[in-house]
């Protein structure tokens, strides 16, 4: 499984030509071009065509590009896949994914499109967006529904609406759901991405939420504005001490070759697989933060 930092996922409407050429310049680990909610009905085809051309012509460098496709149940969803995958799209977010069948349906379509265009089988990956109580309750089965699933994300707006709950800045109403999403991701060995923070004027509130999401185990945060990226990255940057310890553990683990299990001793402390995995994550975050090469 490909492991890379997904600290930030910047949303950008796919029908905005300027964003198509600039969104990746803001330093987000991932950019998600939205064909779903951000694009009105009459613009759906045009947005898809625009994104297809952008994928063919623009060099997005190291930024991981996702598209939020329309649900397959709509008249646009399947065409989004059929047109964008041959144009180069390899990662897509499946909005309103509530059960494993939704994943399997997209998985089958991707297999078909990959075959048709001579693309390596399994090259296309899926991020499932869990936005309802049903989705959260099915989080584990969704996360393991296909090897294509590389991450699951939590969408709080629809979730609270469906629950009849009030969205607060403290987020107590989301605590259980967030924890379940992170647990499901951990079970599947994939990333969990947290929901957006819309109040751009409340930077302190945003920082608190990012810290709390990171502490829960989320790999990253969905961002609605470029100004949020640097803030998230700063919070996700490990401190030097933490990094040095982690580097030591990773080096020792590599030297002892214990990736399949076992225990080693580093500086007199017992180190097992979960500790090594955590150290690897810290090293990965440090690389993304430019602390090490």
């Amino acid at each position: 499984m490909e492991k890379r930092a997904r600290r930030t996922m910047l949303f950008a409407p796919a029908n905005n030509p300027k964003m198509l050429v600039t969104a990746h310049l803001y330093g987000a680990d991932c950019v998600l071009f939205d064909l779903e909610d951000a694009v009105k009905y009459a613009d759906k085809d045009a947005a898809r065509d625009l994104l297809a051309e952008a994928l063919k012509t623009i060099d997005y460098g190291d930024t991981e590009i996702f598209a939020r496709i329309n649900p397959l149940s709509t008249e646009f969803g399947k065409d989004d896949v059929r047109i964008l995958v041959p144009s180069g799209l390899r990662k897509m977010r499946l909005a309103m994914c509530e059960k494993p069948e939704h994943v399997k349906e997209l998985d089958e379509l991707l297999t078909e499109v990959e075959k048709e265009y001579g693309i390596e089988n399994g090259a296309c990956k899926i991020q499932c967006s869990l936005e309802t109580p049903l989705a959260v309750m099915n989080a584990v089965s969704i996360a393991v529904a296909s090897p294509r699933v590389i991450s699951i994300s939590f969408g709080a707006e629809d979730f609270t609406r469906t629950m009849g709950a009030e969205r607060t800045k403290e987020g107590k109403e989301l605590f259980v759901a967030r924890t379940m999403v992170v647990m499901a991701a951990a079970i599947a060995g994939i990333d969990a991405i947290d929901t957006v923070w819309a109040d751009l004027d409340d930077e302190e509130g945003f920082k608190e939420e990012v810290k709390s999401s990171m502490n829960l185990g989320f790999a990253g945060k969905s961002c609605v504005h470029p100004s949020q990226i640097k803030i998230v990255h700063k919070i996700f940057t490990p401190n030097k001490e933490e990094l040095e310890k982690s580097l030591e553990i990773v080096r020792a683990a590599e030297a002892a070759n214990i990736s399949k299990g076992g225990v080693i001793t580093v500086n007199g402390k017992m180190v097992d697989i979960p500790v090594i995995a955590k150290a690897e994550k810290i090293v990965r975050l440090a690389k993304s933060a430019g602390m090490i090469k």
Binding site: V21, T22, L25, Y26, T57, I58, H225, P226, S227, K230
Partner: protein
Amino acid sequence: MEIKKIKNKAKREIPDYIEGYGEVKPYAGPFATEPTGRKYAPLKSFSRPGASKILNSIKEAIEKCEIKDGMTISFHHHLRNGDYVLNMVMDEIAKLGIKNLNLVCSSLTKAHEPLIEHIRNGVVTGINTSGLRGEIAKEISKKNILGKPVTFRTHGGRARAIEAGELKIDVAFIAAPACDKMGNMNGAEGKSAFGAMGYPMVDAQYAEKVVAITDNLMPFPLKRISIPMTQIDYVVVIESIGDPEQIATGATRITKNPQELLIAEKASEVLTASGYIKNGFSFQAGSGGASLAVCKYLKEYMQENNIKGSFAAGGITATMVEFLEEGYFEALLDTQSFDSAAAESMLKNPAHIEMSASMYANPHNKGCSAHQLDVMILSATEIDTDYNINSLTGSTGIIMGALGGAPDTAAGAKLTVVVAPTMRKRIPIVTDRVTTVVTPGETVDILVTERGICVNPKRPELIEILTKAGIQLKTIESLKEEIEKLTGVPEKKSLSETIVAVVEYRDGTVIDVVRQTK
């Protein structure tokens, strides 16, 4: 007379004589042309005890000053888009049937569009300015309505030309937000306050006659004097010199545009890596989006590293005032205040120092603040692979901007950084040849865009310092190529041979000309 074409040091081919402008001294390098001769001086004058300078109307002032056909009159643009004075004076002059006047303006704004009629009617036949926008600019660029070239000068160049007597002002009209009966005036008090009055300070000193026009007659003596009564002939009191809403509103806030912020952040990284940001450094930034936003990131760095600068200069905004009040800089040098926060600060804070345009940027005096700058941040409409900057014309050749103090500060500062987006709409900003050279590339060090940072190869030591600091650099040619992959290569607009404007470098040489569009 046979007119020859000459190539100046900015590689521009220009005639050695331009009808309506005169003989051309070609641009030869930022400090290559030295001044000779004496400064110009107006005639001596005298004042009798008890004599009154107060006149009843602008018309009376025009008559008292004996304005005649062919004279040169001057105005300032501190009232910006809210200026009433230039139009009021010109309307009276037109009514009196006076024609063929040469205008010397520090700049022209959209408030001055009624000038078009005065140009058409032959009242105005000459324009000297730093900037030109909107309809007047279009009419001149497309139809050459003036019939002879506009002369564009930098803020420092205008002061220099006036002092040198190249621009002899017969009558200067000075809008004064605060003035006493003898003509002592300042720009920082009253309902039409705009702050520093750096531009007319020069006019008042060298014009033959000077008329103060005020809407705020204060008791003699005015307590804060920017231009003294020793230079003023007449005072006219009118109801209003400008529209306060359009003069200077509130505080210029730092942009929220993410792309401008991104450019500013990168520029700030470059500045800190360059080694120029240290205790006692001096700084100037334009008031445009990205260049002003550099201050936001610079401040964070200065705070974290406990750095205090000596002075910040230029057009002063609320952001600079915050710098001063919070102790990041010892002083502000202000020739033009961009918002009311700056105007208020100048009144209350002795470390907020008003300066004339000559003290700001004139290369031919004994010291100007532009030459004391460590770091200057500029914006640009176009920049070419020789690092020449255009801030005057659009890519279609139409005049739409200004020289301002950019050529002055770029020449003076130790480090000149240009901040610009790589494209506006679909037009690439980096080109092989700018439409008009305003600031020569040899005075520009770094270009910062959202897609990359380029250093002028004339500064190899900067390339080394920045590279060592981990800043990734691109050549300007590769950046241009990268942008053109997205935009395509725009077709250059072909222009006619008719010269509609002459662009003077700050030392009075000609750096480029603007031709009429087809």
